[in-house]
């Protein structure tokens, strides 16, 4: 009961304390609340608080504070827990802590540890212990505190020095320096150096800028009076020399933004008017401004090697000028001979000495800041030419030397290219570049390397290098070519190259001193390039003929495609024509024809027969027509070094010549055969005579074409080409020679596109031979039908194809005799499908012959007219010759 009343009372007080202002509420309400609280307290049955659980909750809470970055809270709580554990051993501590845990409301967010100071302010720190307190507590008395003497003497002789008790205590005042013991004063007066006041006064006097300006008037002009600093000429000269070195001075100011030096107008010299002095100082300032800009340019770093070389040259010249300034200063300050110090004299000296450098400074302003090219070289070159022309020898020499120093750096990649054929992929400043690094070896010379060109189509090189650009390119390409051939050992050892230096210019002696620099430099550069380019190119040309057998392959081409050896060519052609006439289905089988070609042309010396192969295409037109031969092509597999000279684009021209020759040979072959047949037949009728006449015309035409193609076009052109090839000193020249040879062949053989009508006309004329011989053979066949056995003897084994042809014709004729014999008494023409005009199917021999003759006349007239027309326009002599010769045939026909 007592406990209950105690609880009631305490609970009532707690409620009152918590309710606070609301304690003025009605008593009934208060009683209700009290009863409710009491019931809550008594009615709820809880398990007794587990102290271990509370302890672990507290520990967990402390750890939680640490994890949530509230180390202050964690440490404060932990300290309070420990204090509580020490201060109270009550058994109710876990319950109290459990109450706290239940009432705790987000302490991490809301609690501020500083609030503890409001509850219990921090105790002030204890004052430090002082000697007075120690002495007051325990005074230092007794012998034990006496000073011990450490001298070497015996203890009996020791003089005990009693120190004052205060001398070593903390907190005591600091003694004055003057009252220190004498043994501390050890600096000997002899070691101290006293400054000379006179020198100091002199230095102060020389600092005129520190003194206040005074009014100076000169006797010369009252208007020159002004408040100025009076300075001496020596001081002025010293200031000028310092200014020219780019150092800050008192007489001159520097406007760094505009890189301008201006002089101070508040100085005056004795016996010199201010206006004169101003003029001189202004001139010095102008020189100084130019030099200042030059020095500012030198201070900046440069990125490209060429600009770095230029930068180094300019810096070197600046250093030389600084040395000259030092010499001038030395002559003024400590002259070896008596010298008058004069600002004007110094001005003249400096003006002369600085003139070349100022010209260089003007160039520097024009060099682009960020450039990867060579414009500085071109600027230097132009300036040298101008200076030489104007007669400024000093400036010319200075800038020329700078130019050669820069040129040496620019020519480094050129030298590397010429000597070893190497070009850097990333080098954008060099005018030789790799165009196609992975091109075929056969295109090595033409396609792998190229000259860099600007947008204007000019060489990307200084203009003085443009004439030598192609040679430089070819020199490197020759090295690369020889290396590809594994013949680089053939190169001669590196000779002493002519140096490109100003001292070695040929115009330095008096004889050539009037020669323009452009000429002198051009010849020096030419010599330098030739020293590199000449050996490589000539060796390469020699090796192409000796090692790569260029001559042999050209011979092979001439034999195979241009009928250089007529017997060989005819052997091949006759065999080919026999196969055609035998109407073998596989006459144009490429393997068989390849074997034929190899057996014929492989006998030539120097020709590897394995390189010969024949291609066949299905040609349009009659099988027996000369146009069928356009499907036959003999290929000569040339090695890649030869293909660099005889380029693949020229091989079609060789094929066309081969084709044309085969067509001419074919016509000759057919006409010859027909002639033999006719002679053997012994016929002498009117038709025979007219056919003979026409055959003669055809033979004449074929012979003219044969002679024209071989003797007028191919042979002289080939001979000229071979001669020029042997004389060529450069692969470029060789390629050009061969290209022009091909071009000439194309033109004179009428292969050009604009000459196609004339060419086709000539081929048609050749084809008339086929038609004529065909007509003749049909006529003979008919005659044979009448006297069959008599004509058998004429058909020798060589003419088996003719017999078989006539046999077939006979069969065809006999099979169709029923249809057409009634109409015109003529047999069906087996060649109708192959002939040009299908209307000949029903023509008689005479009609056909007449038609052929008429066609011949028309085509020949057309060809002659065409040739005359193009020869007038193209001025090709060969066409004119051919036209005149063919015109004989036209005039005779008329």
């Amino acid at each position: 009961m007592a406990q209950t009343s105690t609880i009631n009372a305490l609970l009532g007080n707690l409620i009152t304390s918590i309710s606070g202002q609301h304690s003025k509420s009605p008593a009934r309400e208060q009683k209700t609340i009290r009863d409710s609280a009491l019931r809550t307290v008594k009615a709820q049955q809880y398990v007794r608080t587990n102290q271990f659980e509370v302890e672990s909750s507290i520990d967990g809470l402390i750890e939680k504070f640490s994890i949530l970055n509230r180390d202050d809270l964690s440490s404060a709580l932990k300290a309070r827990i420990e204090e509580l554990a020490e201060a109270s051993r009550s058994k109710w501590t876990p319950e109290i802590l459990s109450l706290f845990l239940n009432l705790s409301d987000r302490p991490v967010e809301k609690t501020e540890v500083d609030a503890l100071k409001l509850i219990r302010p921090p105790t002030p720190p204890e004052p430090p212990l002082t000697w007075e307190e120690i002495e007051a507590d325990d005074p230092l008395t007794g012998d034990i505190w006496d000073e011990v003497s450490y001298s070497a003497g015996s203890s009996d002789e020791d003089i005990v020095v009693r120190r004052k008790p205060n001398s070593r205590r903390k907190g005591s005042s600091i003694t004055q320096p003057g009252k220190q013991e004498t043994q501390d004063d050890l600096v000997s007066p002899s070691l101290l150096v006293s400054p000379d006041p006179d020198i100091l006064r002199e230095i102060e006097q020389s600092q005129f800028w520190k003194s206040s300006p005074v009014l100076h008037t000169t006797s010369l002009s009252q208007s020159d009076s002004a408040f100025t600093h009076r300075v001496s000429e020596l001081q002025t000269i010293r200031e000028v020399l310092l200014m020219l070195r780019g150092l800050p001075t008192s007489l001159f100011g520097i406007d760094e933004e505009h890189s301008v030096i201006f002089y101070s107008a508040d100085i005056s010299l004795e016996n010199i008017t201010n206006s004169s002095l101003d003029d001189v100082l202004q001139r010095f300032a102008n020189i100084g401004s130019d030099l200042y800009r030059l020095r500012a340019w030198v201070r900046k770093s440069k990125s490209t090697p060429l600009l770095q070389a230029f930068h180094a040259s300019v810096a070197s010249r600046l250093r030389s000028f600084d040395k000259e300034l030092s010499n001038i200063e030395r002559d003024v300050v400590a002259p070896s001979i008596p010298t008058t110090v004069s600002v004007m004299r110094i001005h003249d000296t400096i003006r002369n000495r600085s003139r070349p450098l100022l010209r260089l400074g003007g160039l520097v302003d024009r060099v682009p800041t960020h450039e990867s090219g060579f414009s500085c070289l071109e600027l230097l070159y132009d300036e040298i030419c101008v200076l030489q022309a104007s007669g400024d020898q000093e400036s010319y020499e200075l800038i020329a030397r700078v130019f050669f120093e820069c040129l040496k750096i620019y020519l480094r990649p050129v030298r590397k290219w010429i000597e070893s054929g190497e070009v850097g992929d990333q080098d954008e400043s060099f005018f030789v570049a790799v165009a196609a690094g992975d091109c075929a070896p056969s295109a090595l010379w033409k396609d792998r390397f190229k000259l860099r060109m600007t947008a204007n189509g000019e060489l990307y090189a200084p203009k003085f290098l443009e004439p030598a650009g192609r040679k430089i390119l070819n020199a490197g390409k020759s090295i690369v070519f020889l290396r590809q051939l594994s013949l680089q050992h053939k190169l001669p050892p590196t000779l002493i190259e002519p140096s490109l230096d100003f001292n070695d210019l040929p115009g330095n002696d008096s004889l050539l001193s009037l020669a323009p620099f452009a000429e002198l430099f051009g010849s020096a550069l030419d010599n330098w390039v030739k020293s590199k380019y000449g050996p490589a190119s000539s060796i390469l040309c020699q090796q192409l003929f000796s090692h790569c057998n260029l001559g042999g392959y050209l011979d092979a081409l001439e034999h195979v495609c241009c009928s250089k050896d007529g017997i060989l060519f005819q052997t091949f052609a006759d065999e080919l024509f026999q196969r055609m006439d035998d109407r073998q289905k596989v006459w144009n089988d490429r393997f068989l024809l390849t074997e034929l070609a190899r057996s014929v042309f492989g006998t030539l010396r120097g020709i590897d027969e394995s390189r010969i192969s024949v291609r066949t295409l299905q040609a349009k037109g009659a099988e027996q027509s000369v146009k069928a031969l356009s499907g036959v092509a003999i290929d000569l597999n040339l090695p890649w070094p030869v293909l660099n000279i005889v380029q693949r684009t020229s091989l079609p021209t060789y094929q066309r010549i081969l084709r044309l020759l085969l067509q001419i040979y074919r016509a000759k072959y057919l006409l010859r055969r027909d002639s033999i047949i006719l002679r053997s037949s012994g016929s002498t009728d009117e038709n025979t005579r007219s056919s003979n006449y026409f055959r003669q015309r055809l033979v004449w035409f074929v012979d003219i074409m044969f002679s024209y193609v071989l003797e007028t076009v191919v042979q002289p052109t080939t001979s000229e080409m071979r001669t020029k090839l042997c004389e060529a000193d450069d692969v470029d020249v060789m390629v050009e020679v061969h290209d022009s040879f091909i071009s000439k062949l194309q033109t004179q053989c009428l292969f050009a596109r604009n000459l196609a009508p004339i060419h086709d006309t000539i081929v048609s004329l050749l084809d008339l031979s086929v038609s004529f011989t065909d007509n003749q053979s049909r006529r003979l066949q008919r005659q044979t039908n009448k006297s069959r056995f008599a004509s058998v003897d004429i058909r020798r084994p060589r003419r088996n194809h003719t017999r078989r042809k006539s046999q077939r014709q006979e069969d065809d004729i006999s099979s169709e005799d029923n249809d057409e014999e009634d109409e015109n008494g003529e047999g069906d023409d087996d060649y109708d499908a192959d002939n040009e005009t299908s209307s000949s199917r029903n023509e008689s021999y005479d009609e056909r012959l007449a038609r052929i003759q008429e066609q011949f006349g028309q085509l020949l007239s057309f060809a002659v007219a065409g040739l005359k027309g193009v020869s007038r326009v193209g001025e090709e002599v060969a066409w004119e010759m051919l036209a005149e010769r063919l015109e004989w045939g036209v005039s005779r026909a008329d």
């Binding site: 305490l10 609301h22 609280a37 809880y46 319950e95 109450l99 239940n102 302490p107 609690t111």
Partner: protein
């Protein structure tokens, strides 16, 4: 005699006051928002056998009923003592 008794009483009360002070600081750290007097009442109630959970419920209920009263500033120092 009375001073001795007073001294004895003070000596007896001193550790209790120190404990209260420590508990007060802990209450501040845990953001319990309780005055020293209220803390003393709570401690007394607990020492008289009241369950801390029940007492916490009563206090929370009273605070919910009288929320403004929670803004009563905390009492500083050791000037409060249990009756």
């Amino acid at each position: 005699m009375s001073s001795t008794r007073q001294e004895a009483r003070d000596n007896k009360r001193q550790p209790y006051l120190e404990v209260l002070e420590i508990l007060g600081e802990m209450a501040t750290l845990l953001d319990i928002n309780i005055t020293q007097r209220q803390l003393a009442y709570c401690v007394s109630l607990i020492e008289n056998g009241v369950e801390p959970q029940a007492l916490a419920n009563v206090i929370n209920g009273l605070r919910a009923r009288y929320p403004e009263e929670e803004e009563v500033p905390k009492e500083h120092g050791k000037d409060e003592s249990t009756k």
